[in-house]
C-alpha cells in the first residue's frame, strides 16, 4: 500500500517537469548575476587581492597552511549555494501562495501539496547543481581544486543548499507578509555568510560564538567543501558534516511538508 502511494507520488512529481522547466527559462537571467558574477568578484577581490596581504609571510598556520585563495574558494562555493537556496525558497514560495497563487492552481489538478513540494524542491536541487557545477568550473580555472576529491564538492554543494532550502521553505510557507524575509536576511543569512568560516577560521571567534557557529549548517558545509577542494578529507569528520547537513534536510523537509499542507489545505 505504501509502495503504491510512493510510486503515485513520483509520477505526480514528474508531471511538473514542464512547469519548472518553463519557469526556469523565464527567470534564470535574473538570478545569474547574483549566483555567478558576484562570487567571481569576491574571488578576485578577496582571494587574489586581499590574499596577497594575508599570505605575505607565507601560508598561515591558522588557515591550515594553505594560501588565502585556496582557503576562501571553497567557502565561496558553499556560501553561493546557500544564497541560491535562500533565493529559491523564500520569495518564490510566498509568491506562489499569495501573489500568483500558482500552488493553488497546481493542487486543483491531481497534484497534492506534497507533490508540489517535492517538485519544487527538485527544481531547487537542479538550480543548486547548476550553481555548484558552474562555480566549481570557475574554481578549476583559478587552479584551486585538488582532483579527484574536489569533484565531490559539487554534490556537497547541492546538499548544503538543500539543508538551507528545506527549512526556509517551511518558514516561507507559514509567512503572511514578505517583511519576514528582510528579517531572515538581516539576522540570518548575512551573519551566517560572514561568520561560518568561509572568510576566516571560526577559531578566531570568541568561544560562545564559535559554539553558535558550529550549530549552523553552513559552517559544516564550508568545512566539508574545503576538505574536498583541498583534496584532504578526513573520513570521520566529513561524514559527520554530511550527516549533520542531512539531518537539516530531513527535518526541514518534514516541516515544509506540514507547513505547505496546512497552508494550501485550509
Amino acid at each position: 500500500m505504501a509502495g503504491r502511494v510512493e510510486s503515485a507520488t513520483a509520477g505526480l512529481v514528474w508531471r511538473q517537469l514542464d512547469h519548472w522547466r518553463v519557469r526556469w527559462r523565464r527567470t534564470w537571467r535574473g538570478s545569474a548575476v547574483t549566483t555567478f558574477v558576484l562570487p567571481v568578484l569576491y574571488l578576485l577581490a578577496m582571494g587574489v587581492g586581499l590574499g596577497a596581504y594575508v599570505d605575505e609571510g607565507g601560508p598561515q598556520a591558522s588557515l591550515g597552511g594553505v594560501n588565502y585563495l585556496d582557503f576562501i574558494a571553497p567557502g565561496l562555493l558553499a556560501t553561493s549555494v546557500m544564497q541560491t537556496a535562500v533565493g529559491a525558497s523564500t520569495w518564490p514560495v510566498l509568491g506562489a501562495i499569495k501573489w500568483d497563487k500558482t500552488y493553488f492552481a497546481m493542487i486543483a489538478s491531481p497534484l497534492r501539496p506534497r507533490d508540489v513540494l517535492l517538485g519544487n524542491l527538485a527544481f531547487v536541487a537542479a538550480r543548486l547543481l547548476m550553481t555548484a557545477a558552474v562555480f566549481w568550473l570557475v574554481l578549476l580555472l583559478f587552479g584551486v581544486v585538488a582532483l579527484p576529491w574536489a569533484l565531490l564538492a559539487i554534490p556537497a554543494g547541492v546538499l548544503i543548499g538543500m539543508a538551507h532550502a528545506t527549512p526556509l521553505f517551511a518558514l516561507s510557507a507559514r509567512l503572511e507578509r514578505e517583511t519576514g524575509f528582510m528579517l531572515i536576511y538581516r539576522i540570518g543569512v548575512v551573519p551566517m555568510f560572514l561568520f561560518s568560516g568561509a572568510f576566516f577560521p571560526v577559531s578566531q571567534l570568541p568561544d560562545p560564538l564559535q559554539w553558535l557557529t558550529q550549530l549552523l549548517p553552513l559552517f559544516h558545509g564550508v568545512e566539508l567543501v574545503r576538505a574536498l577542494t583541498l583534496g584532504r578529507p578526513d573520513l570521520l569528520v566529513d561524514v559527520g558534516h554530511v550527516a549533520y547537513l542531512l539531518l537539516w534536510c530531513v527535518v526541514g523537509l518534514a516541516l515544509a511538508d506540514r507547513s505547505l499542507a496546512r497552508r494550501l489545505g485550509g
Binding site: 505526480l12 512547469h19 523565464r26 492552481a105 486543483a108 491531481p110 494550501l264 485550509g266
Partner: protein, 310 residues
C-alpha cells in the same frame, strides 16, 4: 451517461475555519448534465463549499461524495476529472498565455502533443488565439478570466466548477462566456457555478440553491423559486429621499408584500400596473415608477431581507 447519476452528494456538509463557521450543514445533490448554481451574498459560504467539492479543502463535518468518491481519500482521482475556475485567478503571470495551458495540461498526465493540440483549440474557444504569445501579466482582468476558463477545460472535465466566472467582466465578455458555458452544457458537461448575479443564475442554471450565512434558504429552478417565493410582478417606486417609511404605510395594502430599500419601495403583486395606478389614484406622485417581472433578486430579498448585490 445515466441522466440522474449524482456527481455531487453532500449531506450536512460543514466547514469551519477556527471559530468561523463558513458552511453550516448543507444538503446538495448535483446530477450529471445539469447546470447547478450557488447563489448568495458575500461571505455566504459559496467558495468554501466549492473548494470542498473540488477536493482541495477537507470538510469539517457531514458527508460528501464527488463523482462517487470520497474527496479526502481520492483527491487526485476526483480532481483529474474536474475543471476548476477559482474565484481569484491563479495564473502564472511570468508565463505566456499558451504556456499556462501547456504546463497545466501536463499536471493531468497528458502528453506534450496532446496538450499542444488542446491548448490551441481552447484558445480559439475563448477567443484568445491572437494573444497566445503574450505574457499573462500584460492581460486585462477579463482576458485573464477567459484564460482561466480555458485552462479549466484542458483535461476535458466531466464537471466544470466556476466560482464567480464573470465577476469583473464587461457585458460583452460576460455574454461570450455565457455562450461558451452554454455550449459546454450542450455537449454534456456538468456545470457547477457560484454567482451573485441573478441574471447569470437565471441564464445558466437549471437548478440552484440560495445560500446565506452558510445555510441553504431555498432550492429549485429559477422559475420555480420565483413562483414559490415572489409575486409575478413588482412595482418599483421612487419617492423623495426621506418619506419612504411613511409612504410605505399608506400603500401597504396595495400588494401582497412590500420591501423598503434605501432608494425605493418594492410592491409585490400579480399585477404591477394596477398597483402603479392605485398609487397615483391615492394622490401620491412617485418620482419614478417601474413595473417589472419578479427576478431571483426579489426571491433573495424576500428570503434573507438583504439584497444580493451588497
Amino acid at each position: 451517461m445515466g441522466g440522474d447519476e449524482a456527481l455531487v452528494e453532500a449531506r450536512g456538509l460543514r466547514k469551519s475555519y477556527g471559530a468561523v463557521e463558513a458552511v453550516r450543514g448543507i444538503d446538495v445533490t448535483v446530477r450529471r448534465g445539469e447546470a447547478f448554481g450557488f447563489l448568495g451574498p458575500n461571505g455566504a459560504g459559496k467558495s468554501s463549499t466549492m473548494r470542498m467539492i473540488a477536493a482541495v479543502s477537507p470538510p469539517s463535518g457531514g458527508t460528501l461524495r464527488v463523482l462517487g468518491m470520497d474527496p479526502t481519500d481520492d483527491g487526485p482521482a476526483i480532481r483529474s476529472r474536474l475543471g476548476v475556475c477559482p474565484q481569484e485567478d491563479t495564473l502564472d503571470s511570468e508565463l505566456t498565455v499558451r504556456e499556462n495551458l501547456l504546463v497545466y495540461g501536463r499536471f493531468f498526465g497528458l502528453s506534450r502533443p496532446e496538450v499542444a493540440r488542446r491548448a490551441d483549440e481552447l484558445l480559439a474557444f475563448v477567443q484568445l488565439s491572437d494573444r497566445a504569445g503574450a505574457r499573462v501579466e500584460q492581460l486585462s482582468g477579463g482576458l485573464k478570466r477567459r484564460l482561466t476558463v480555458a485552462r479549466s477545460l484542458i483535461n476535458e472535465p466531466e464537471m466544470l466548477m466556476l466560482d464567480e466566472p464573470t465577476t469583473g467582466l464587461d457585458p460583452q465578455a460576460r455574454h461570450l462566456l455565457w455562450d461558451r458555458l452554454f455550449r459546454l452544457k450542450q455537449q454534456g458537461t456538468t456545470l457547477l457555478l457560484t454567482t451573485h448575479y441573478m441574471d447569470e443564475a437565471e441564464q445558466l442554471c437549471d437548478r440552484l440553491v440560495v445560500i446565506d450565512e452558510g445555510v441553504i434558504v431555498a432550492e429549485g429552478s429559477p422559475a420555480q423559486l420565483i413562483r414559490d417565493h415572489s409575486s409575478r410582478e413588482v412595482c418599483e417606486l421612487r419617492f423623495g429621499a426621506d418619506d419612504h417609511q411613511g409612504v410605505a404605510e399608506r400603500i401597504q395594502h396595495l400588494g401582497e408584500r412590500l420591501e423598503v430599500l434605501p432608494d425605493r419601495l418594492l410592491v409585490y403583486a400579480a399585477d404591477g400596473e394596477a398597483v402603479a395606478q392605485a398609487v397615483h389614484e391615492g394622490g401620491l406622485t412617485p418620482r419614478s415608477t417601474l413595473v417589472r417581472r419578479s427576478t431571483l433578486e426579489d426571491v433573495f430579498l424576500h428570503l434573507t431581507g438583504r439584497s444580493l448585490a451588497e
